[in-house]
């Protein structure tokens, strides 16, 4: 029973851990602002495809980890991720039948909201406003989304047929 549960959750756990690592990997100085928000992308995918398994609770826990890793206010990423995952679960049935282009546009909107929430909290907490490059991850995130979702679908399919 427990091992069956564990194997069902393995793909999600591994991909979320990978996303956290990709967030921490050092990039060259001029590439760093373009790093996509890997964690949000992965969470949107799992919230869309398995909303019963991964919901706002998991988003909160991962957000807190992200806050500690990045040294931001405790709760900042947690709040933003909760909101994004909540919206995704609300509309998950709709998003599943979207064609890829429309889905990518939706993800673009979600990423913009995510970045805006972080921006807004920074403003309230009087952290110095970043430059225009702050919004770059929204664009790179939308660009990597089709590839990421195809990759994750492959992972999920393989895990399901195996289990």
């Amino acid at each position: 029973m427990i091992s069956a549960r564990a194997s069902r959750h393995t793909p999600a756990i591994v991909t979320v851990l990978l996303a956290l690592m990709l967030t921490l990997v050092p990039l060259p100085e001029n590439l760093a602002p373009f790093r996509p928000d890997w964690v949000v992308l992965i969470l949107i995918y799992w919230a869309m495809t398995a909303p019963g398994d991964y919901n706002v609770g998991s988003a909160f826990v991962i957000g807190i980890l992200l806050d500690v890793a990045q040294g931001t206010l405790l709760g900042q990423h947690a709040l933003a991720l909760c909101v994004i995952v909540y919206i995704t679960i609300k509309f998950h049935l709709l998003m599943r039948v979207f064609p890829l282009l429309q889905l990518t546009a939706t993800v673009f909107a979600l990423l913009t909201l995510y970045q805006f929430l972080l921006f807004w909290i920074n403003g309230v907490a009087a952290v110095t406003a970043p430059t225009i490059g702050y919004w770059a991850p929204v664009i790179t995130g939308a660009i990597v989304w089709p590839f990421l979702s195809m990759f994750l679908s492959g992972v999920r399919f393989r895990a399901q047929t195996k289990g």
């Binding site: 990997v25 602002p33 947690a78 679960i89 110095t128």
Partner: protein
């Protein structure tokens, strides 16, 4: 098909997604307020930081492995060359240090004559920087020693050339520091030539600091060395910070436009030195006792 149906039934069992989301959002807002107001949550942060630590180690591993490969792959000849270069350097440094010891003794004597407080000599320890990118919008770095080694909040970081930054968050085995080039960082400095005091602000660029509070008639020129003034208590005095690169005086502006280049190579350091100095709170209680 089967799996999506079981998914839906599981979704139906979640009591109320909206309520849950609202509760967690309020919880995060509460956490943020607590974290922002005072540092109530430092212990919690440290505990969660211990969970993040393995991730940081894994991310840092390739760089560490590469350095190890390079070190073990070094040829005998390279090592001999490096050895002789280092010995020569050490000889020179030692010679300079002899003079420094004499000067320090003289300085202490003069300070006693002036009845000034004796300067505290800080303990120094080398810390390795982890190849972990914490936050792209801030200039910060993660060092591989933490609370276990006695690192404290606000501790000064220097490299061989000058001040690098200060510790802002202490974890169990790691610590986060912000660089002097971070836009939220301000550092009390003085011009070493004439003791003119001012504040150097980070700009978000690794090679530029701003000195916005110098009047047009201030005695400062290009090439002046800025050192820490020790005011503010976080940094011990006398460490080089930056060299003034540009002074623009516009008659219609009340303040001169002064920029400087940090002495330390802020985006290239691999190791930093942490300085243990008497903390400012201890100093004030000392004075109160006197």
């Amino acid at each position: 098909m089967l799996s999506s149906q079981s998914n839906r039934s599981r979704l139906a069992r979640i009591p109320a997604l909206g309520v849950r989301a609202l509760a967690l959002v309020s919880l995060s807002i509460l956490l943020m307020i607590l974290d922002h107001r005072d540092n109530h949550l430092d212990a919690a942060r440290r505990a969660i930081g211990a969970a993040v630590y393995p991730l940081q180690v894994v991310v840092d591993a390739p760089t560490r492995f590469w350095v190890w490969i390079r070190d073990t792959g070094a040829t005998r000849n390279e090592l001999r060359l490096q050895n002789s270069r280092l010995s020569a350097e050490r000889l020179l440094t030692n010679a300079r240090l002899q003079r420094f010891t004499a000067l320090e003794a003289e300085n202490a004597r003069l300070r006693e004559l002036l009845e000034a407080r004796r300067q505290v000599r800080g303990e120094v320890r080398i810390a390795e920087i982890m190849a972990v990118d914490a936050n792209p919008y801030r200039h910060n770095l993660v060092i591989a020693i933490g609370q276990q080694d006695g690192v404290y909040d606000g501790q000064a970081l220097v490299d061989v050339n000058g001040v690098v930054g200060q510790v802002v968050e202490v974890g169990l085995m790691t610590a986060q520091a912000i660089l002097i080039s971070d836009p939220d960082h301000a550092l009390p400095v003085e011009v070493s030539r004439n003791g003119l005091r001012t504040v150097a602000f980070g700009t978000g660029e690794f090679d530029r600091l701003d000195l916005p509070f110098l009047p047009n008639n201030a005695d400062i020129r290009e090439g002046d060395l800025l050192v820490t003034s020790g005011l503010g208590g976080a940094f011990p005095s006398g460490y080089p910070v930056a060299v003034v690169t540009n002074v623009t005086r516009l008659p219609q502006e009340p303040f001169a436009d002064v920029t400087a280049t940090p002495a330390a190579a802020l985006n290239q350091v691999r190791e930093v030195m942490l300085i243990w100095s008497a903390s400012p709170t201890v100093e004030t209680t000392d004075e109160a006792d006197d």
